[in-house]
Symmetry: C2
Subunit: 406 residues, 2 copies
């Protein structure tokens, strides 16, 4: 008998029929002899509808009240799922974030989970009841309602799994698991049986949006093993876990693309201390996220800074940089290039294998694909390529590292 | 500066526009320098919609889960009203039943308020904030959610008013106040400036459904003065309060009609001990509420029992009585009469004035109206009349006791 935490998103409980479906899935699990805690989101569409009502009343609804309002959505879905389960003769009870003992801190609408006191959940489990927990919500120590922001239900599920020492936390979603690459781009992409937290974090940060980073980070911090799998079928998904030795034999776990990137290059400015700070500070002040940064010194002793950002930020970036550059040097020059993509290879095997970057560049070079900027971390190598050949580049690298489905 | 508790029902907060209306009413009160606690219901229609969803999932949804589900309705309306108030620059915060410290006991879907710990509300009042409380809901000492059943929001309002020592509790509703009679029947009916708890209880029990009896009883028990007034205008309503000497000068406070009544008369049964118990026991077992009961002994020594009930119960009553009567006597006879109404006069002045019943019967007699059964309590006289002349009878009695509008 295992104790399983299952997380179902808003789409999975988006209608009466779908709620009944989820109830049937849980029943199947119970019939295998497992105990189940289901952490669920509000019914799909409900949150948007509530936000719409709030916005009709005020352009700036107080966040404290948005939390009270939005948390009602999960309160409805947990009750409805518990009702559906009881109708299938599964003894189930719903618990709100507060009742689940999810204690939060931080700001309204983006609470942080501080700790979980699972007494009430444990009491129900002792009576062999199935427990339905409201995701996305918790309570401050002063008894106020907090919501956890985007991806909050994943976070709730992983935190609950940690608190009750669950055997596994299943994140049921509309994808089958984590793939070596986006299957819509790389037809030979394979579903990974397992992946380490760090690898998923690096892949998530470059466009494979399976889960929010903070949920993965939370799972990593507390060693919660979880599985990303489909709520539409019963196929095994991808286990996300701490890295272990066998994982290192695989050099590259996956390949991903981030599109709609733009490069900004600043030249002809003197290489003086604090200069980078001034440039990046101006961009930060304009709330522009920059990604890859490459700096070097040209032959003439002037500095050359390049960085990438989302194309949609390009105009604002130029406006923000103009006054700073004018101040730094009368000759300062700014070049921009849109229509580029970032291609990344991720894998913890990189740490113990040499020549990974060389292999990546070589394979792209052989295919006549030009590489722009390069940046590397311990388990990731990223390069920029022209956006219109990014898909082809991904397929080439995927093949080069032996990731293709046989 | 007064501390006012205002209760708004589901119709009053039934749309975004109406919520904005309520916010404006509260703002007006704030501008007069008063502090306001608003206790509100779920938006009209929301509760029914939620019940509908529950019933789609199960014919017998567990009541524990219905409480979780339905209490989400007020959680939405309190947040929305708080948002609307803040948009009018009134510093307002919402609190759920739990946060309002409403501690309940009893069963799910019909919780009883045990006590209120208004610490959180008082903290907000100290900061001069307007507090919006979710009606209809509370929490058990084990942290479970309870709803309070029909009329629960009135009860919440009166209980909160008691706990915070409010100067007045206003029940804002779709009627203007309590009238001497139903104005749709008696055009000369007057709105009462005040009425005692007991009088309202007696009137409520005979069809003037302003409020559920238990809310009035709760107010009486804790001495909470409240006012029934319209949410659609700013006219003063009716103050419901403890009785005081001046009230006794009025003999009759109001007249009311209960329609669709039926009379059952049982004759030709021996007058033996325990016989009434058997008859009434059979009806109680069939869950038939009987109202007036008149028993006497005929000249032949046989007993004669009459009682009234709602017409819709008549068929079931006959079925329930048949076997009992057959057992009591082979001659037992049962007569029924539908199409009657109960006309009642209510007033605490009756206690100190004699001849009230005589005056009532005389006025009806003069108009040629036949009286059927008669029953009296300390502050009420009820008679049955034919239903089709009930309205006329009410008008006659209303005039006879000087209740007509001048």
């Amino acid at each position: 008998m295992a104790l399983i935490v299952q997380k179902y998103g808003g789409t999975s409980v988006g209608s009466i029929d779908r709620i009944r479906n989820v109830a049937n899935r849980i029943k199947t699990e119970r019939e295998k002899g497992n105990q189940v805690i289901a952490v669920i989101s509000a019914m799909g569409g409900v949150t948007d509808k509530l936000i719409g009502m709030a916005q009709e009343l005020s352009e700036t609804p107080p966040e404290r009240e948005l939390d009270v309002l939005l948390s009602s959505g999960e309160q409805q879905s947990i009750a409805l799922l518990a009702i559906a389960l009881n109708d299938l003769e599964i003894d189930a009870v719903s618990v709100t974030g507060r009742q689940a003992g999810i204690l939060t801190s931080g700001s309204h609408t983006r609470g942080r989970i501080e700790e979980i006191n699972p007494d009430m959940i444990n009491d129900y489990l002792k009576k062999d009841q199935t427990v339905i927990v409201a995701g996305f919500q918790g309570m401050t120590e002063n008894g106020l309602i907090h919501t956890l922001g985007r991806g909050g239900s994943d976070l709730s599920a992983i935190a609950v799994a940690s608190a009750v020492n669950a055997d596994i936390c299943q994140i049921l979603t509309d994808v089958d698991g984590v793939y070596t690459a986006d299957p819509r781009v790389v037809s030979k992409a394979r579903k990974l049986p397992e992946i380490s937290y760090d690898e998923l974090l690096e892949l998530a940060s470059v466009g494979t949006k399976v889960m929010q980073s903070r949920s993965v980070e939370f799972a990593k911090k507390f060693g919660v093993k979880f599985e990303v799998r489909s709520s539409l079928n019963h196929n095994p998904g991808t286990i996300v876990t701490e890295e272990h030795e066998a994982m290192e034999s695989v050099v590259i776990r996956g390949v991903s693309i981030e599109r709609s990137q733009a490069r900004v290059t600043i030249t002809e400015i003197p290489d003086t201390p604090g200069m980078s700070g001034k440039i990046l500070g101006a961009l930060a002040e304009a709330e522009i996220n920059i990604d890859m940064i490459v700096s070097n010194i040209a032959n003439d002793g002037n500095a050359r800074h390049s960085f990438t950002m989302h194309t949609s930020d390009l105009g604002r970036a130029q406006a923000a940089l103009k006054p700073v550059l004018a101040e730094l040097s009368p000759h300062a020059n700014i070049e921009t290039e849109a229509g580029i993509a970032k291609l990344s290879c991720v894998g913890i095997g990189m740490r113990s294998h040499s020549g990974v970057a060389a292999k990546m560049f070589e394979s792209l070079g052989k295919a006549g694909i030009n590489i722009g900027m390069i940046s590397t971390s311990e388990i990731k190598i990223s390069v920029t390529v022209e956006e219109n050949i990014a898909d082809e580049a991904a397929r080439i690298v995927h093949t080069a590292f032996g990731l293709d489905q046989e």
